[in-house]
């Protein structure tokens, strides 16, 4: 449901069912998806998947192998206290109408609010003997206020650019307490119109937890996808600056950098019981004390790379081929509160809430824009800054991280694009705030 300026703008309810068959013949996967679940249809889908895979022999490669995934018969469900589809539409509508009206009253030229709910039942069956069913409920919500000035717009969002999402019930939305933040973000959006711009300089940068989530997503999560490292995504999503020969040795970041791949986190958006190859969810390290030690892998890519684990293969629905995807890729906490990081900074900038993101096809050169910034002078927050941006090269940036926050939020990103045909993945990023040194900020057009 989308609301705008005190009115419901759209309510869409979709129901989707089908079957996707993946068949491995020689060097290639063949995949066929059909919406008709009759016996005849699904049999044809199986035959078609095998025939499509066989057609790949026109341009063959090395015979594919799979790392073992012991067959299991299992059920799994995500935690859910309040069924989000059981909450009356009228209550949800009243919430969105009220918060958008409040933002308008507080000075927003455009006030938006939305929630999304997914209730997915998935059955995975393999010729090796897997029989797994999962029930995953996801939901989330967010609000945004836009102020329009002379030739510019300024936007403030809560709690995140697109809202906060998780594999949880409606209790997640209740805990966000959207009404409590409506007036503040509207006021901040309007104040940004007259705020000074972020200076163009090189300085100490403190990133709030929400922006850290996307920093991790783009410059670590995608870089450690094994299919990218192997060149399987070279023509579209891209490759990776990481070289498998350096796994276990390469310094990715400072000693404070500890990145985990953990689909077992209760309620995080990238959590599941089993991935879409039937591999059970297991937590692993990706970066330990700054050293790159792990990847997001599938059974086929792991076999090529000589690794013994998989567990990160997912599809965005029955109609698309499962592929290597992020689960929950996050930064382990450090010792400092955000206030302590600010207090320890003589001259710097605090930025938070993502507004734009861009990174090259090897996941090195990035540029992010945030909704809001504040200057830091002598350990205190100063003026609000508009149009804050920062740019850098991944490993240089991560090696400059010298303080890590202690308070972790498991941010959910429901819009991760990858693959051809395109797929939209749901990923999680538990992370605290962090501080970086010698960062170029204030990139101008």
């Amino acid at each position: 449901m989308d609301a705008r300026n005190g009115e419901i703008e759209a309510l869409n309810q979709g129901e989707d069912a089908g079957l996707g068959v993946r068949a491995l013949v020689g060097s290639s996967w063949g995949f066929c998806a059909v919406p008709d679940l009759s016996n005849a249809s699904v049999r044809r889908a199986g035959e078609s998947a095998a025939a499509i895979a066989a057609a790949s022999a026109t341009v063959p490669g090395p015979r594919a192998a799979l790392v073992p995934s012991p067959p299991v018969v299992a059920s799994w469900a995500s935690p859910c206290d309040v069924d989000p589809l059981g909450v009356p539409l009228s209550s949800k509508g009243d919430l969105l109408v009220a918060v958008t009206a409040a933002m308008r009253a507080a000075g927003a030229d455009h006030a938006e609010a939305n929630y999304q709910i997914w209730d997915t039942r998935k059955w995975f069956v393999s010729s090796e003997g897997h029989r797994i069913d999962q029930h995953i409920r996801e939901c989330g919500a967010g609000i945004a206020a836009t102020a329009i000035g002379e030739g510019e717009t300024q936007r403030r969002s809560y709690p995140s650019y697109r809202g906060q999402y998780g594999t949880r019930g409606w209790e997640l939305v209740t805990e966000l307490d959207l009404p409590a933040h409506a007036e503040r973000i509207a006021s901040e959006a309007r104040a940004l119109l007259t705020a000074p711009p972020c200076p163009s300089t090189t300085t100490t940068l403190v990133l709030g937890s929400e922006q850290m989530a996307l920093q991790i997503h783009e410059s670590v999560g995608h870089a450690i996808e094994l299919d990218r490292i192997l060149g399987w995504e070279a023509a579209f999503a891209g490759t990776s600056w990481l070289d498998l020969a350096q796994l276990g040795q390469l310094r990715y970041g400072s000693e404070l950098m500890n990145i985990t791949i953990d689909p077992t986190i209760p309620g995080a958006l990238g959590s599941f019981g089993f991935d879409d190859e039937g591999t059970p969810a297991v937590a692993r390290d990706a970066v330990r004390n700054g050293i790159w030690v792990g990847v997001l892998a599938g059974r086929d890519s792991a076999a090529v790379a000589g690794l013994d684990y998989a567990g990160s293969v997912r599809s965005d629905g029955w109609a698309r081929l499962p592929m290597v995807r992020m689960t929950n890729v996050g930064l382990l906490p450090g010792e400092h509160t955000l206030d302590e990081m600010v207090a320890a900074t003589d001259d710097g900038i605090l930025m938070d809430i993502n507004r734009s993101w861009s990174i090259d096809d090897r996941r090195l050169n990035f540029q992010f824009g945030c909704e809001i910034g504040w200057e830091i002078k002598n350990g205190r927050l100063g003026r609000m800054l508009k149009n804050p941006t920062y740019t850098g090269i991944g490993p240089t940036f991560w090696r400059s991280m010298d303080m890590v926050g202690s308070e972790v939020t498991a941010w959910g990103t429901p819009n991760c694009g990858k693959g051809q045909p395109g797929q939209v993945g749901h990923t999680g990023h538990p992370t605290p705030a962090a501080r970086f040194t010698n960062v170029r900020v204030g990139v101008r057009s």
Binding site: I8, G30, I52, G93, F236, L321, S358, N365
Partner: protein, 503 residues
Amino acid sequence: MTPSTAPIAAPAESAAAQVLDLARAEAGPAGVEAEVVVYQTEYALTRFANSFIHQNVAESTVSVQLRLHTDGRTAAGSTTITDPESPRDLVRRTVAAARLCPPDPQWAGLAAPAPVLPGPEVDEATAHANPQDRARRVRDFVQAADGLTTAGYCSTLYWSATFANSAGQTATSAAAQAAIDAIARAEGADGLARVATGRLADLDGAVLGARAAAKARAAANPIELAPGRYEVVLEPTAVADLLTLMAFYGFNGKAVNERRSFVEIGEPQFDPAISLVDDPFAPGSTALTFDCEGTPRRRLTMVDAGRTTAVAHDRRTAAQAGTESTGHAVPGGTAAGAIAAALQLLPSGSAGGGGASGGSVDGGSAGGGSVDGGGVDGGSASSGRAAEVDGPAADASVAALVSQVERGLLVTDNWYTRVLDPRTLVVTGLTRNGVWLIEDGQITRPVQNLRFTQSYPEALAPGAVLAVGSHGVTLPNGWWEGMACHAPALRLRSWNYTGNASG
């Protein structure tokens, strides 16, 4: 070649009619305004990497989408489930949702009955291509790369829509497209070939593989260049990104209504060399000839010789602007606004293109206009394609622009572009798949990828466009199969590069 909707229109029409009848019955005395679209899609994609096919997929999907307005309230629902009870379930839950919704005072009503022009005929060989058809083109691409590592895809798409609403409007439309989007790789440098067409038979994997390989070899061992402002020749593959982002953020009626867009109708916002049309009738377009509200689409001129003349509207944004819908509603698009899905930058020498006169608003050219331009600069007017050339330029029309540049850059692709400010359409992104330094009209050195931070409308402003290429290329959209751009190359006075490989 056969008419576009013959095989499956009848069951789709009856399904749409059934849903309308059910909606009327379910709504009861309150009455209902309802619209139904049945989409049917056959999409197949043969993907290769490291020079072999590794992912080979096909999907067949049916989606029934219902939007209804009853007792002053609006809701929408969809289903892909094809069992007999599914339409009844869809109607029940959508009517129930509408009754629980707050009133919708912005409801703009249903499209009245109006004729819908037929689109380009669908090529059956493309619509029903098999895995071997695609694999052969991949094989030809890989072999033509002559030992270089290759990656990419060959795809075929067929989709149709059948529309009916309770006001009496009905329509059917279909489109097919085949595409190759692939790279060859040489010493860490990538060379690109990307093109879409309405006929799979027009895709020559060998020609495209050779082009990608030539670009890759020419891109090897690049130098690092300092950031700064450079004159550029953007190849069609890079220009497509400008068109796509302008469609979403600029020529979007909702964004204009809300003053979030740079667009001002009637103003000379662009260089006179720029003429921009949205044309679902053009060959290779994947746009249908009506939108999801049932509004017929026409060829719409959005920029005529530099002057902004129109923006895309759906019924809601049009009502707010006090005008008529242009047929650009998109499924689930109330929040996103109205999107032009068949944008074309007219090449020089075509009617209305490159500063020439012509190009009327709402011209209704079922023939699609002469978007491929004439045979200037080594192109073939009969084939509509520019000639292949040696070296890294994509074709002869690009090479012709390169020859005019004293010092600048040839850019193949813009990548991972994101909007920093919607109002000014300041965008950051990176070059990809080949950048070269041009000196005295010659391509002299490959250059490492650069990051830019650039206002797109500023780059096309009056005086900023030095030349428009003579031939356009139809390009697939990586994220929305129903969108395809058609673009020639552009020679622009200035492009703002703000970073390089060092930071």
